[in-house]
């Protein structure tokens, strides 16, 4: 998904609902204009907001236009929310929500300089390179369809947008829900349920730090033409291409689909191709075929699809084939919450396959890191001839952030097909673990051709049930990954390198954790944070870091499990047997709010 330039307007800090709240404090008056068709029930949105404001301390004034035809037509609804005194419905809007191209065309002018235009990217194509305002693309129509299996008349998109705005301005969700209930409860229980489905989807949609961005511009930063703005799925996709991926295969699933769609559209330009398979089993099999053929290949999916790939992943470990596997995590288990964020697939990534299957797991911390993590995964997969799983998530996938444009010249890896003839002493599975397969097409000077296999095997790939051989091969596959592990840089501590509480995070919780750490330190509390991008193997050197803190609290978006520990916490406790490692977890489909982290670690702090 591409958006017009808002380069100047984006700070590097990651998005999190609370950033919105932060910014909102400085926001005196907000004029929001909803432009769409009356059939979409945009009046309803306005009505709800007005009522909410009415019930809150907030002042409010609204106005709307009535469509010309009864059958409905273009229409707008404008709300002026204010913490101070509100004198008008506002002539110029701070925010414009555009449902259709015509809404955008007719109303973009009413948006004040530096205002924010949220548009339905399923219908609207904004003017390229318009620097006057900030653009935020949200696939309103399709995300609503996704979240409720359709868009059920006017109870769909408008409720989604209402949820979106509620999160954006950190409005009182509970109060609004109550109002909605009173409204739809009358009609019927299931109408209400559908409305809430859409509302919750909008509320949990990761908009990113929209307000934050707006304010930086107000504070008049100069624009920087070296910065790019995009979402995590896009950044990851181009990271793969930069890393040398030219082939892959997948099957659609939210929120993974955009990656495969972009790869399929883009790879031909680079001389490669991404294949849509009939299911996830075929997808990973095709990708393994491409890998065996000598290419650096990728496959990916989300929760349910990853579970289907576990058998072939076990093969990839046994056969020692390089493969990059993407898991865009979403709410689980089972079909769960397809459009919500969660980090509950970590253990599966490590232990999901049968047998002992040492493999590499990485997790990007923000949108920019999605790009670099992808490149890193490519390097590792090739260097150690191993599957590498990247755990990203629904929030990173769809969130828009800006970052320095990568230095492609220095980063790009050109793929090569290593079919140069091999000498007679070549073996596919050397006991020293330095496996480098000879892809088909390679002449074997010794005249003996290799077999790649999933049965336990000798160095030549011949099946073997010999006890010593099995033991040696298991050791080899494990030591190979340990050898890689020793190359992982020791993580850096954010804050001070000693103190009371050390927060540990992975993946998209990086932002809120960092934010919380800063708040605590501002408040004079000795809280620091360390973020892990390498989850299997874990980097060395953590004990040195941990020992300088009284408490180590692992903050993650998964369940505390049967023994009170989240998934990463479980791994850390198992490796280091350090009782001071505890967990702060939640699974409500939303990223951490700063205040949730702050209150969550309070019990760990002195005087608590």
């Amino acid at each position: 998904m591409s958006t017009p330039s808002t380069a100047s307007s984006v700070e590097e800090e990651p998005a999190s609902p609370d950033d919105a709240q932060l910014a909102q404090e400085d926001l005196r008056n907000a004029v929001i204009r909803f432009a769409g068709n009356s059939q979409d029930g945009i009046q309803t949105i306005g009505g709800f907001l007005a009522r909410l404001a009415g019930r809150s301390a907030r002042e409010v004034m609204t106005y709307m236009t009535i469509p010309s035809t009864i059958s409905g037509g273009p229409s707008i609804f404008q709300v002026h929310l204010g913490s101070g005194e509100v004198l008008s419905a506002g002539d110029e809007a701070d925010f414009l929500v555009a449902f259709y191209q015509h809404s955008y065309d007719d109303h973009i002018a009413s948006l004040k300089d530096g205002g924010v235009c949220i548009y339905d990217s399923d219908h609207v194509e904004p003017v390229e390179g318009d620097e006057r305002v900030h653009y935020v693309a949200v696939p309103i129509t399709s995300t609503t369809i996704e979240s409720i299996g359709g868009t059920a008349k006017d109870r769909g998109k408008n409720m989604f947008v209402l949820g979106l705005v509620t999160a954006l301005f950190d409005l009182d969700r509970a109060k609004l829900a109550a109002i909605i209930e009173r409204q739809f409860g009358k009609k019927s229980e299931d109408v209400l349920r559908n409305a809430m489905l859409a509302f919750d989807a909008g509320y949990s949609y990761p908009l990113g730090d929209v307000l934050g961005r707006a304010f930086n511009l107000k504070s008049g930063e100069s624009t920087d033409e070296h910065r790019v703005t995009t979402d995590g799925n896009t950044a990851l996709t181009y990271g793969l291409i930069a890393g040398g991926v030219r082939w892959g295969s997948g099957y659609p699933i939210t929120p993974w689909s955009p990656i495969m769609e972009t790869l399929r559209t883009e790879l031909p330009k680079y001389g490669g191709m991404f294949l849509q398979a009939e299911d996830e089993l075929a997808a990973i099999s095709m990708a393994l075929g491409e890998a065996y053929a000598g290419h650096l290949a990728v496959t990916g999916s989300s929760g349910p699809g990853l579970s289907l790939k576990m058998e072939a992943l076990s093969y990839a470990v046994m056969a020692e084939l390089p493969l990059v596997v993407i898991n865009v995590q979403r709410g689980g288990p089972s079909t769960g919450l397809p459009t919500s964020v969660e980090q509950s697939d970590l253990m599966q990534a490590i232990y999901g396959s049968h047998g002992d299957t040492p493999r590499v797991i990485l997790a990007p911390k923000n949108v920019e890191d999605c790009f670099y993590t992808a490149i890193e995964a490519c390097h590792i997969a090739k260097a150690y001839s191993t599957p590498v799983i990247i755990l990203t998530d629904q929030a990173l996938a769809t969130r828009i952030e800006a970052f320095e444009e990568p230095d492609f010249e220095s980063l790009v890896v050109e793929p090569t097909l290593e079919t140069q003839p091999r000498d007679a002493d070549f073996v596919p599975y050397p006991f020293d673990g330095h496996t480098k397969h000879a892809p088909p097409g390679t002449k074997m000077k010794g005249g003996q051709y290799p077999v790649v296999t999933g049965l336990e095997h000798d160095e030549w790939g011949h099946p073997s049930a010999n006890p010593e051989t099995h033991q040696k091969m298991v050791n080899k596959r494990r030591d190979k990954i340990k050898r890689y592990g020793d190359t992982i840089p020791e993580p850096e501590v954010f804050g001070g390198d000693s103190g009371e509480v050390l927060l540990v995070g992975w993946g998209s919780t990086w932002g809120p954790i960092r934010e919380a750490t800063m708040r605590e330190r501002e408040a004079g509390r000795a809280v620091s944070a360390v973020h892990l991008r390498h989850l299997n193997p874990l980097p060395n050197g953590l004990p040195k870091i941990f020992e300088k803190f009284e408490r180590v609290c692992v903050v993650e978006l998964n369940d505390q499990g049967l023994y009170g520990n989240g998934q990463l916490a479980t791994l850390l406790r198992a490796r280091y047997c350090d009782e001071k490692i505890t967990s702060l977890t939640k699974t409500d489909g939303l990223n951490f709010r700063i205040r949730e982290i702050l209150s969550g670690i309070q019990p760990l702090q002195a005087g608590a």
Partner: protein, 313 residues
């Protein structure tokens, strides 16, 4: 030009012989039909003189799927039922190779049945040899999707009750562009079928009745003259305008092939379908790549990425 580079392998003029192709002594039981399939495969490769290093043998899991260990070529022994998607990945990403997939009836029609249909409709350029023994061999005699009704197995002690799938109906209807049927006891016929399958542009399948002498003895005697059966051939049209030719089978006629497929065991042997006018997926995707490459011209990977990122500014 940032497309995948491949070092050109030095040309060689040595002739490819059966000896070059022979690897481990097959572990199959004495008398297993699969021995003959292997022998026929060797002979055809000898005849066609495909460059040794370009031959790739791929299989799933099963006795028949042990095939790659017995051929001295690049080979891959995969997991149960997924040989075709893996082989498709190899074929589509490496058009320079000759890709062969081998497997049994359980591997291909039970767990792998869906991949067979989708590989066929996409017309991926590779050759698939099914060694159908109408039983699960490696796992020791359970009912397979081709086991006849009444077949006594460990999972059907009183005899199988489910109607077996008809492999030929499946292959004719799923759009496979070359579909043949042969019998492991008829080496010459097998060789003929394999050769035509290999020369066919696109997805070619040879359903080969190959006896499991341990768990389903005599299953194909009815198609074996030496065992008192009848080996009836499909008479293909010669297009000689003679009246006899009317009766003969048009290998491009799907409905006629479907009628052939409907014959009862042992049925007829030979080519049921041979359509050369269907573009392969290899060709279609290559076309897309070429036109895309043409548009970008001499642009390097870095340049292409820069261009893409420019619109994100």
């Amino acid at each position: 030009m940032p497309t995948t580079k491949q070092p050109t392998t030095p040309e060689t003029d040595e002739k490819l012989t059966k000896k070059d192709l022979t690897a481990d002594h097959p572990t199959w039981c004495p008398g297993c039909g699969d021995f003959a399939v292997l022998a026929a495969f060797f002979k055809v490769l000898e005849k066609l003189q495909i460059p040794h290093e370009k031959i790739v043998t791929i299989a799933g899991i099963g006795c028949s799927s042990r095939f790659p260990y017995f051929v001295n070529s690049h080979g891959l022994h995969f997991i149960h039922g997924r040989a075709l998607p893996l082989a498709s990945g190899v074929s589509l990403s490496r058009p320079d190779l000759h890709v062969f997939a081998f497997g049994g009836d359980g591997d291909g029609f039970s767990i792998g049945g869906n991949h067979l249909d989708h590989t066929a409709r996409k017309n991926v350029n590779l050759t698939y040899v099914i060694m159908d023994n109408e039983v699960y061999g490696l796992t020791k005699k359970q009912t397979s999707p081709t086991s006849p009704i009444g077949f006594k197995s460990k999972t059907d002690p009183a005899g199988a009750v489910d109607r077996p799938i008809n492999p030929m109906k499946k292959l004719v209807s799923n759009g496979a562009t070359f579909v043949a049927r042969t019998h492991a006891a008829q080496v010459k016929h097998m060789m003929d079928m394999f050769e035509r399958a290999i020369l066919h542009p696109g997805f070619s399948v040879v359903e080969t009745l190959s006896e499991c002498v341990v768990f389903h003895k005599g299953a194909f005697d009815d198609g074996n003259p030496r065992k008192g059966g009848e080996f009836e051939l499909v008479e293909e049209k010669k297009w000689d305008g003679t009246p006899e030719d009317e009766e003969r089978h048009d290998v491009t006629n799907e409905e006629a092939a479907y009628a052939l497929a409907s014959l009862t065991h042992p049925g007829k042997f030979g080519v049921f379908i041979e359509k050369d006018d269907v573009p392969t997926k290899n060709h279609l995707e290559a076309q897309w790549i070429d036109s895309a490459r043409e548009k970008v011209g001499e642009a390097t990977t870095a340049e292409l990425l820069k261009k893409r990122f420019a619109i994100m500014k």
